[in-house]
Symmetry: C2
Subunit: 378 residues, 2 copies
């Protein structure tokens, strides 16, 4: 006897960005301060190559990244705090009861704690999701999922798999990252880019005929041959005990070879990757009414979209407008939540995660039910 097969709809998207805004000028000033400290510590000697890592400006960031500002958490706040605020906003605004949720999937690359406890378990408690029904424990599915900048779309795919397999019916999908935790203030490459945000998306089972993503319109890719272009060299299990000088030098923070990332990802996502994904979905570029790309860099994304436009894309590009930085696992749902007017029934969308690993995960779907969104932003 086969269990019923369900489809999945998105039932609401909630986004929360912390209040503390950092303009490009403030980031540039922070880098200059760090350069001064380093000069003092090293007796005033910095090589031209070293000095260059601290140089940036509002003009440079606007031109080469396309960002104007980003938000940072307060000290002591982590992914769980961003996730809990976004999820509480989802409960309050949607009227959903905490007892209606039977799964929590947390997409994040910045877990609140190393090793344990997982954010999914902490979130159960933060949200008061019931885990007992009288004397019997109430089942609740959950996990933390990570795949660098492709993690949110991959987590969405896992939610889809859980629902289609009948293992969950109503999932809180978190996309949240405190990326400020990963900034090396001695290296402009990510310092000018990263930001903090939390999102919560409600994924609900629907009869298969109403499935937004049928038949399996997801496409994934991994290429570890380029793993070093976006990496934190120390702090993980390969080097769990970095020395204080290594920590000071930023070895536990993310570093990026921006030129290599652009050189690889623009032609790949612009061409063969989207072609393979569309071929699997049996869709064409012309079918996409709405596209949202992981907002790592708006200038880079514009290069990708330019290629797509030349090849037939006519749809609207939804972004967070460069006002929140690269929020990694939060970037795509944040951009969706900030553009509620675009999310009307019948629209066909493409969601594009790509980045560290290297990795990519794309999703295509059709909005078939109302999709309310909420954010704490104007």
């Amino acid at each position: 006897m086969s269990p019923s097969v369900y489809g999945m709809r998105l039932d609401g998207i909630s986004a929360h960005a912390p209040e503390q805004a950092w303009s490009n000028a403030r980031v540039a000033a922070r880098l200059r301060l760090e350069r001064m400290r380093l000069r003092k510590a090293s007796g005033g000697r910095l090589s031209p190559e070293q000095a260059k890592l601290f140089e940036t400006s509002d003009r440079w960031v606007r031109r080469f990244v396309g960002f104007t500002e980003r938000r940072f958490c307060r000290d002591g706040e982590g992914t769980i705090d961003l996730a809990a605020r976004a999820a509480r906003q989802l409960f309050e605004r949607s009227g959903l009861a905490s007892g209606d949720v039977d799964a929590i999937v947390v997409g994040s690359v910045t877990p609140s704690y190393l090793y344990s406890p997982p954010d999914a378990a902490m979130l159960q408690h933060e949200l008061g999701i019931p885990v007992w029904r009288g004397p019997a424990p109430r089942e609740i599915v959950g996990a933390d999922v990570s795949l660098a900048c492709s993690g949110w779309v991959t987590s969405l795919m896992f939610c889809y798999a859980l629902i289609r397999a009948g293992l969950a019916r109503r999932i809180i999908l978190i996309g949240a990252d405190r990326m400020s935790a990963a900034i090396n203030w001695r290296d402009r490459s990510f310092a000018t880019v990263l930001g903090d945000a939390g999102t919560a998306t409600l994924c609900t089972a629907v009869p298969e005929a109403e499935d937004w993503f049928s038949p399996s319109q997801f496409w994934s890719w991994l290429d570890g041959s380029q793993a070093e272009v976006i990496r934190a060299t120390a702090g993980g299990s390969r080097q769990p005990a970095p020395s204080p000088p290594e920590v000071d030098a930023g070895a536990t923070r993310l570093a990026m070879d921006g030129a290599a990332v652009r050189k690889i990802l623009v032609p790949f996502v612009g061409g063969p990757a989207i072609d393979a994904a569309l071929a699997k979905a049996n869709w064409k570029l012309e079918d996409l009414d709405l596209v949202t790309l992981h907002e790592a860099n708006l200038t880079l994304n514009e290069s990708i979209v330019k290629t797509w436009r030349e090849r037939g894309l006519r749809g609207q590009v939804l972004t967070a407008g460069g006002r929140f930085g690269n929020t990694t696992s939060a970037s795509i749902p944040l951009a969706l939540a900030l553009n509620p007017e675009a999310l009307s029934i019948g629209k066909r969308f493409g969601l594009f995660g790509f980045g560290g690993g290297l990795s990519a995960c794309f999703a295509f779907g059709t909005i078939r039910h109302p999709l309310p969104t909420w954010s704490n932003q104007a």
Copy 2:
């Protein structure tokens, strides 16, 4: 048009434990050395409570944990190295070609790198899994999944969901952890317990009628109200910049309130949790031919099994025999790989993950095809 629904079989389990063995006596000596260092640093003054944290012995560990030894990686090795060795052994011994794999799911709480690159992407490259087919990229699904000690069974459930949803056909499921990276040598609670190991399990789609896990014999639980009983207080996104004294004191390493863990988990897993899971599966304790529990502590596990025996369990308990420590995401597949003679066709098994979070994930299934296993251990 609905896609076909598939079931899942396990097609082989490979386990790799590093060579470097640490006996209980060696762990006790290492703790004494650390106590000497701390006394020296603090001018010889340690409170009785502090001193107690360093006290252990072979006899104590055998009695209260049930372990005799554990294995540790070499410096510079992390989860990816353990995972790659287990997966290569799987390829070599099974005859599987790397091009036969279309997904990589990595269950681990000790990612090789913070933030990026994900282990799933690095593993693609380490194993030479092809990502191009002529000019077109070849789809490969992947992610890193974490849920403390419940992470491997949860990752198995995600593999099941991917296969049932038609999103993958042949998945390499890694369960690997370099838990030595999480040891605080100033605290016997985890120092006497943790070990390093890697495993690779091949999860393959089969016609639904041959499904080992039908209908959805998984059961999951989260309870964040007890999150602090197994935790590393610093190093995650809530406290990403611990001071050198905090690092020296072990704030970035795992700590456990062992008495609380035992007090909560023994009655919970022994009673209401297994009852709820069996009720969902429509199975009874008497139906289980083989059971494998996450090997956090064999003494604790014996208390759980005692409860089950009193209530009707007659099946065989498969363990790694306390010879490898608590290897977190590797523990259950390691125990299975070390007991190949038990894994015969027709046997009904229960796999029980539980621990940090708190969290639990259980799987019930029936071996319906040959299940070869391989390990680098005698």
